[in-house]
């Protein structure tokens, strides 16, 4: 690729946190890189999300990607600007009753087996760790090295790193079509590049219709500042099951302490294209949160909003080349984990692009799993 005589070695579509991370990785690999952004850099799902840097174990592949990505974030922490508001607050996975505490113990064994620091808290230790929780909870799993950050600033910083290394941005450019090694922009322009990464979130489905992305809407609400009210990111242990139960809409308990002392309250999931805040979903979400933190009702809410996670049917992102167009790469479908996994996605993608050794197994993330076989060749 370095010998290419084209204008750019790499074009990245979308300057959310995933696209910005890919552009940064591209320039670090010495590629002449352009990023094409249709709207505001970091203004889509990146700006709507919580910014929880978290190890998730919904599947073996998800665990590998989130753990690898968290490690990459931890290496970047000393370089991040203060405005990125990184805080190593840790995650508390709350077990409501004894049966859930048994699940927490299993999760602890699984994470510890991967070298993740974590510990079980009993009911009393939990009350000491997080006094705002209601009494009577069975305990929790604490993962101390998880953290939180402010995603739009982190994305902007990643992009600045790319820019400092020579990357350029084409902003306000709506991509209408992609070809092998060329991007068509509304207005008739063409951008040529040796490789293309599609990191356009939910909108990526318009460019790569074979990947079955669906926007999964979420609500969040942020309060005024109450420093000291909450110390950890606090999530109900049943979060994954509730979040991906496949019902029409689900709410689960997920609270985050912001560096300002504000409390960010989540979360909800439903398949929808409607951007509006829905009072019934929001009130169910708040009631769920208040059932864990009774004093939440005394806090003043400032603003509620929604965002769209780009969801795939198997809850794993697509990170790799398209089987029918090997110079086009997908970095799509990160659902609710795009902030955490942006860095790992970029490294995994660049390794595949450059034929380097993949830092984690790339197989489970191949876009090819969603492409219907069109050739009879290979059938015995």
């Amino acid at each position: 690729m370095a010998s290419s005589n084209r204008t750019f070695d790499l074009a990245v579509i979308g300057c959310g946190i995933v696209g910005a991370a890919c552009a940064r990785a591209g320039t670090r690999a010495g590629l002449r890189t352009i990023i094409v952004e249709g709207s505001l850099a970091g203004g889509g799902a990146t700006a709507a999300g919580m910014g929880h840097i978290v190890v998730m174990d919904g599947s073996e592949a998800q665990l590998a990607l989130t753990l690898y990505s968290r490690r990459l974030w931890q290496q970047l922490i000393p370089e991040l600007p203060e405005a990125a508001e990184y805080r190593s607050c840790g995650t508390l996975w709350i077990a409501e009753h004894e049966a859930e505490l048994e699940l927490a113990r299993r999760k602890q064994a699984k994470l510890a087996g991967q070298g993740v620091a974590c510990e079980i808290l009993d009911a009393r230790q939990l009350m000491e760790a997080e006094p705002c929780l209601r009494p009577g909870l069975a305990g929790a799993l604490r993962v101390p090295d998880d953290g939180v950050l402010y995603p739009p600033i982190a994305a902007q910083w990643l992009w600045q790193q790319a820019q400092n290394a020579g990357a350029v941005m084409r902003s306000g450019a709506i991509v209408t079509r992609i070809q092998e090694q060329a991007i068509h922009v509304a207005g008739g322009d063409r951008i040529q590049a040796g490789a293309i990464i599609v990191a356009a979130g939910s909108q990526g489905a318009e460019l790569i219709p074979e990947i079955p992305l669906r926007p999964r809407k979420g609500h969040l609400l942020i309060t005024d500042r109450y420093p000291g009210f909450l110390r950890h990111q606090v999530v109900e242990l049943g979060y994954l099951q509730r979040a991906h139960a496949g019902t029409e809409s689900s709410v689960s308990f997920n609270l985050q302490p912001r560096a300002t002392g504000q409390v960010l309250i989540g979360s909800s999931r439903q398949y929808s294209h409607d951007r509006a805040v829905e009072p019934d979903v929001l009130s169910r979400m708040l009631a769920r949160a208040q059932s864990y933190v009774p004093r939440l009702g005394d806090l003043r809410g400032l603003r509620a909003w929604t965002g769209f996670r780009a969801a795939t049917p198997d809850d794993l992102p697509c990170i790799g080349p398209l089987p029918n167009r090997p110079h086009i790469f997908a970095a799509l479908g990160h659902e609710g984990l795009g902030i955490t996994t942006s860095l790992g996605t970029a490294e995994l993608l660049l390794a595949q692009m450059l034929g380097a050794e993949a830092p984690i197994p790339a197989g489970p993330f191949q876009p090819a799993r969603f492409f219907i076989e069109t050739s009879p060749a290979g059938h015995a």
Binding site: D224, R225, Y226, T260, D298, R300
Partner: protein, 80 residues
């Protein structure tokens, strides 16, 4: 309610009446309500519950609206 009673500003007893708003009381006492995120001093501005500048801790409410809250006997007001 008695015509005058005692409230506490940062622990100091002050006389107030039932028709005195917390914001008015703090103005009378020449005190500021809080500091902004950037550290600037803040006190009542609009006086009608719109601008949020007069927020101050009133009993357990960390963001009480001073201009919309009337004094009550033994109320504890904490500024800055």
């Amino acid at each position: 309610m008695p015509e005058t009673f005692t409230v506490f500003i940062n622990g100091q007893p002050v006389t107030a009446g039932p028709e005195t708003s917390v914001a008015a009381l703090l103005l009378r006492e020449r005190m500021v309500n809080r500091r902004s995120c950037a550290g600037q001093l803040r006190a009542a501005f609009c006086g009608m519950g719109i601008c949020m500048e007069c927020r101050v801790t009133i009993d357990s409410d960390a963001h009480g609206l001073g201009c919309m809250t009337f004094c009550r006997p033994n109320m504890k007001i904490t500024t800055l």
